[in-house]
Subunit: 416 residues, 2 copies
């Protein structure tokens, strides 16, 4: 296993305008070639800060992957900073400059003079051609470290890391082996209680390494194993996972990064249970999550987003007197929505969410965060009432969708 570092560049990242998704993706890819990113650094466009970050990364990691700062504008300073730390200057790479001109020509455009800057590369470095964008990347040696720079646009970054950086690392470090991660996802236990069930495996000297992370009620147990090749590393990770599974069998709902929605969508597909969705306060979020699953259209009969009472009655057949007597946010309405969606769409399962996501619309009897969830499977209806804390619209919507997925899962498993 070799030491790695991921270095993301951009004021929009250090300033918090934008969440940095590239570093996690690069890190994930590096594990596969036996490089463990020990640090991620994010630095802004300031030239001195950027040099400091490059120097520091090159000093502590054998492989450094930089993303961003290769654009054509004034604030793109990765090329210059890396050249200075490497003690060299920038030269124009003629094939890159030809490729940039050709790229513009093919789109009926002319490159700006500033695009010429994108063909500059540190002298003595290797150019990494970019087949999906304008800016080429490069590889430069700084001390014992190999520093790779690729664009920050995620789609370009992904292709260049996969096609050029990873094979090059394999070539430079053929003995690095592989790191393989297994994750087990569960719910319904506190972190401390889970930690005690797994204490022997979580000691800092345990190999494979075992850790726990928490995210709004979902726990993930993480196993990281190394081995001379991917199969050997995977076997070691699996051996540890096999020790963990019996200790959490009652709580486990997915493995290896599978999301809750993919797990539930997979269950619906595997059992061939056709379904329909009726959403009020989640506004299509539940539908959006389940349709992330490729092939789901085989069993997804139809979805309805019905905020208004009129739509609930027209499209779902919720009786007007149910709405009048119990209100749109009630167990009765949730049940009628689930059953109505199921019946209208001629599906086996109907699921519904109705509630008050906020920030406005609450009342003393029905405060913001009050949500009713319902599932009707073959005519058997289950309803749950939830009161989520706070008045954050996004939080209430996400929790409601997630809990509805758990409810669908329980209905499906109970129906076996």
């Amino acid at each position: 296993v070799e030491r790695g570092e991921v270095l993301a560049v951009g004021d929009e990242l250090t300033g918090g305008d934008r969440v940095n998704t590239n570093s996690a993706r690069v890190a994930d890819l590096l594990l596969g070639v036996g490089v463990e990113p020990r640090f991620h650094t994010t630095v802004g466009d300031d030239p001195l800060d950027l040099e400091e970050a490059v120097r520091c990364a090159a000093a502590r990691a054998r492989f450094v992957v930089m993303t961003g700062g290769l654009g054509p504008t004034e604030d793109d300073r990765t090329r210059a900073a890396v050249a200075r730390v490497a003690g060299t200057d920038l030269v124009r790479d003629e094939p890159s400059w030809a490729a940039i001109r050709e790229r513009f020509r093919a789109r009926g455009l002319r490159p700006s003079p500033s695009n010429e800057l994108q063909a500059l590369t540190p002298r003595g470095g290797r150019v990494l051609p970019n087949r999906s964008g304008t800016a080429p990347g490069f590889e430069v040696r700084i001390g014992d470290s190999h520093v790779f720079a690729v664009p920050g646009i995620p789609a370009e970054m992904e292709v260049m890391v996969r096609e050029q950086v990873l094979p090059r690392i394999r070539e430079l470090a053929p003995g690095a082996g592989s790191l393989v991660r297994k994750t087990l996802h569960l719910t319904g236990i506190t972190e401390s209680a889970l930690g005690e069930r797994l204490a022997d495996l979580m000691a800092s000297d345990h190999d494979p390494r075992v850790g726990i992370t928490v995210s709004t009620g979902i726990m993930t147990v993480r196993v990281l194993a190394s081995g001379p090749d991917p199969a050997a590393a995977a076997a070691r990770a699996e051996a540890t996972a096999a020790q963990i599974r019996p200790r959490i069998a009652d709580l486990l709902f997915a493995e290896d990064g599978q999301t809750l929605w993919a797990a539930v969508g997979g269950l619906l597909l595997a059992r061939g249970v056709t379904f329909a969705l009726a959403e009020s306060c989640t506004g299509g979020l539940l539908s959006r999550l389940l349709t992330d699953v490729p092939g789901i259209s085989d069993v997804y009969a139809e979805g309805f987003v019905t905020y208004s009472n009129a739509a609930k009655t027209r499209s779902l057949g919720v009786p007007e007197d149910v709405l009048a007597r119990h209100g749109a946010v009630s167990a009765e309405t949730a049940a009628a929505m689930a059953s109505g969606a199921r019946t209208r769409a001629e599906a086996r399962l109907g699921a519904a969410i109705t509630g008050i996501a906020g920030p406005a619309g609450g009342s003393p009897e029905r405060p913001v965060g009050l949500v009713f969830l319902a599932v009707d499977l073959d005519g058997r209806v289950q309803v749950e009432r939830r009161q989520y804390p706070g008045d954050d619209r996004g939080f209430v919507r996400e929790r409601a969708a997630r809990d509805c997925l758990f409810l669908i899962r329980r209905a499906l498993l109970g129906a076996v």
Copy 2:
């Protein structure tokens, strides 16, 4: 303006299992109290790496905010690492331990022995109570630097930074002033062409700082200004923005981090245009985005997720012969879906998306990534055909929803 650093802790972050959203959020909050995060560092749970990261951050920033590693399990090592770098040891904070026990008691549970670890805090530090979770945070002085540690759970982190860290920084650095960011969001221009329009403002010594970032076809111009107080900083940022706006007036669709969907939702609300949505391949994504906008239910008549031809006919009234002659993925079907949604829901505007998100389902005539978008406003129908590259389901879905939002926007603006 003071130098800051954000330090996130966790193997799940360095390993790329999970995207680090905390650091961006903390950075955004720090700007408001005049602290500019020059670096973000992410480090795993390895004790020596963690110490190195703390040492490095404390050496280069006056204010360091750490997130994560305060849980009750073996792999939570922030407390110990900070204490070692500060040259001190850990002591149990009795009020924190009492609060932890009380928290468990209130939920009818007992703390695990491991929860007692969460009451440990570096000797000589200040405890930061946590009113929404188990783990308290702390503040420790290391050299000239103030190091704050808060839990990694986003909701807890947010409350503690807002309520405790920011006021404390104001107290320690009353003269830091404020940093204010303005962002202008636009589309329909290359990055290099935009850079040339703004070249004079983007010079590295220009104050306020101006930069450009790109994300799948959307450009953001970012202005960062400092001043003795928020109002003065905002005025300086606005003065620069006022220089930029006339240069990009034709392309600008939103400002200050407003999303495209918020801009379009705001337009629908401001004009009181009721709308209905019909989605096939995006599966509710468009609906989910527009319903992120508080109050949108005032104008959102109804949404339909119709994968099957049967659902398109039943709920949207798409004629069977249109489906038979042109197929579900066609300009004719898209138009019929938009008009059908509008009519069924008795709305003024109907928008529809039908296409092939992949990875399966493509054919030579209708490859993966082919999408038709339609908008019907008061009976005037516009249809667009798009062929997105690649076969990434998520990418195709996001681009289709985004382009449909642009189409809705153009229809609304053209209708004035």
